[in-house]
């Protein structure tokens, strides 16, 4: 499939409003045939809305969506060659696993012997051979997930949509399913569009990624491009490691017993004589590592007295030579108090 350049999905200036909320804002996007494509972004950034517009559950407020060249913007879900794996699986509780998987064929009027044959193939694909007679309630979360996948793939859709399909699984199962999903996608050769807020998941699984922020697509590229050449400070911060500060370090910085996160692009790198305003927090440390990313640079700063913080700064007048010289220097980090986000746990 690689080498083919026809686009599976194309967004042309697509916007979606819910009342006053701009869920998706002027999105332009091209997803290639056979790609494993991820929509990555924080919660509420418009990923699900994009997916639902491709599936046909939402109609764009403006703009057009093309599926293999055909304008599908206003087609109902049952007239599109697209299937979805739902976040909550949405299995039919009154049907057996076999009937769930066969549903797409059944409503199309495929005869029963053919249906049973295809169900068996699907069960084998998702490694659930022998489970056809069970009810969904008799399966574990991971198994339900596989049934949902088999049910969505049996129609051989042109595009498969997956909305945070691994979100409900525990870490170990999640990693196992990541590998398996990727293998299944290779085997069936169908375009997968995968929604996630987990940057690591997106980086490891995808051929290409679109990064969302506040309804806008801020960057599209391969995992390497996005990681190494983030287009905005937001991407650099979101895709880079985020900072989670707790315990002694948090207490030293804020004077309170809290745990907080601070986004790398919100932290400023200053010299040791920087004055700290009352509305800011600060921490002193030494730059241990510098990663030059073109427009941005990612610094790893080891704080005096333990702990470290990742900082992302835009390269305004600096060259790669300048930023690399910072390594080993003592710095004073500072950021606005309003930019920390307190998180639960301790």
């Amino acid at each position: 499939m690689t080498g083919q350049t026809q686009s599976a999905i194309r967004f042309e200036n697509v916007s979606k409003y819910f009342g006053n909320v701009k869920a998706v804002d002027q999105a332009n996007l091209e997803i290639r045939d056979g790609e494993f494509f991820s929509l990555l972004g924080p919660s509420g950034s418009g990923k699900t809305t994009c997916l639902r517009m491709i599936a046909g559950f939402e109609v764009p407020s403006s703009g057009h969506i093309y599926l293999y060249g055909q304008d599908v913007s206003n087609l109902p879900p049952y007239e599109r060659d697209v299937n979805t794996v739902f976040q909550d699986y949405a299995l039919f509780p009154h049907m057996s696993v076999g009937d769930n998987i066969a549903y797409g064929l059944m409503v199309k009027g495929v005869p029963k012997p053919e249906r049973m044959k295809r169900v068996d193939e699907m069960l084998e694909l998702v490694q659930l051979t022998g489970y056809a007679a069970r009810k969904p309630s008799q399966l574990s979360g991971g198994q339900r997930q596989r049934v949902a996948l088999a049910r969505a793939l049996i129609n051989h859709p042109k595009v498969l949509l997956l909305d945070e399909p691994l979100g409900a699984l525990d870490l170990k199962l999640r990693q196992q399913m990541q590998v398996e999903l990727k293998a299944i996608q290779k085997r069936v050769g169908i375009t997968f569009i995968f929604v996630t807020h987990d940057q690591e998941e997106a980086l490891t699984m995808s051929d290409r990624i679109a990064v969302f922020n506040e309804g806008k697509i801020v960057q599209v590229g391969t995992p390497a491009e996005i990681y190494e050449h983030p287009a905005t400070a937001f991407v650099a911060g979101f895709v880079g490691t985020s900072n989670l500060v707790s315990g002694e370090v948090a207490k030293r910085i804020t004077g309170r017993e809290i745990r907080f996160s601070i986004r790398p692009e919100k932290i400023h790198l200053g010299t040791m004589d920087t004055n700290i305003e009352a509305d800011s927090y600060s921490a002193d440390g030494v730059v241990r590592d510098v990663i030059y990313l073109g427009l941005y640079t990612r610094y790893l700063v080891e704080l005096n007295g333990g702990g470290d913080l990742v900082v992302v700064e835009q390269n305004l007048k600096t060259t790669s030579m300048d930023v690399l010289k910072v390594k080993g220097q003592a710095v004073r980090l500072h950021w606005k108090k309003e930019h920390i986000r307190e998180v639960g746990g301790s």
């Binding site: 879900p77 697209v82 979805t84 909550d88 039919f92 549903y103 797409g104 969904p136 969505a152």
Partner: protein
């Protein structure tokens, strides 16, 4: 599947006694009715019975006024139930699926007829029927009964919709089913037992309704009204008792099954979690 897992301690004997007392209080009068269908003495309730006879069953069979009342009641209950199933389901679907303005108000207004005393519903209906110059007939009774039958179905179906995973409908459409197929294969199986339970309850409610009926019936006599009118005729008492027994069976069986059905489906749904 074990349906009733026992938990907590065994009930104390005081509680057991109270429970039995309650049961007796509720059911002794019913037993008395049953007993006095067998008495040969038609006017008084003497105990012990002076003898045992089944002749009142025969007498009841031959009363044409009774049969007319019974058929009318069955016809009213059947049509009111069917109307309730259709309207109640549609109303529940509308309230569940959409977020229209005044949704809560509509829901409240729908449930109101069952909360209002029957006498208020009755007067209201009679006034409107009179004001609109509609002659009292079989259909006015049906409309009267539909007011509370719709509520029963609506409540049952809405509760089921709320327990149903909404994304199932989207999943069905996503897999290529049109609206009709989605209703048939996904929505209907999900609400089927709620419809059955709601329908049976509605039927039972309609079958023995007196208050609203007296306001909407005009000259017609439904079975409960027939029984009521019998109270003034002491000589017919055993016949009335026979009929009461019959009414009890007709209303008890649907309610019994409705309970069984809802309990069962609650079990299976609980088991899936």
């Amino acid at each position: 599947m074990p349906s009733n897992v026992s938990y907590g301690q065994k009930a104390s004997w005081g509680l057991t006694l109270a429970a039995w007392g309650g049961l007796l209080f509720l059911h002794v009068p019913i037993l008395i009715i049953f007993l006095y269908t067998l008495t040969p003495d038609e006017t008084t309730y003497t105990f012990p019975l002076p003898g045992i006879t089944f002749k009142w069953f025969g007498v009841a069979l031959q009363r044409t006024d009774l049969w007319r009342a019974l058929t009318l009641s069955l016809r009213v209950a059947a049509v009111a139930t069917v109307a309730a199933l259709v309207l109640g389901t549609l109303a529940a679907a509308a309230v569940y699926r959409s977020q229209f303005f005044g949704r809560e108000a509509v829901s409240f207004l729908l449930v109101l007829p069952i909360a209002l005393p029957g006498i208020v519903t009755g007067i209201a209906l009679r006034t409107s029927i009179g004001a609109l110059d509609i002659p009292f007939s079989y259909w006015t009774i049906v409309v009267g009964h539909a007011t509370f039958c719709v509520v029963v179905v609506y409540n049952n179906v809405l509760a089921r919709f709320r327990r149903m995973q909404g994304s199932q409908i989207e999943a069905s459409m996503d897999l290529g089913a049109n609206a009709f197929q989605t209703f048939r294969y996904v929505v209907f199986p999900n609400i089927a037992t709620a419809l059955l339970a709601g329908g049976m309850l509605a039927f039972a409610l309609s079958f023995d309704e007196v208050i609203v009926t007296t306001f909407t019936a005009g000259q017609q006599t439904t079975l409960p009204i027939w029984i009521f009118s019998q109270l003034t005729r002491p000589r017919d008492r055993p016949v009335t008792n026979v009929v009461a027994l019959f009414v009890m069976l007709i209303t008890f069986l649907p309610i019994f099954f409705a309970q069984k059905i809802t309990a069962q489906s609650a079990d299976t749904e609980g088991g899936s979690k």
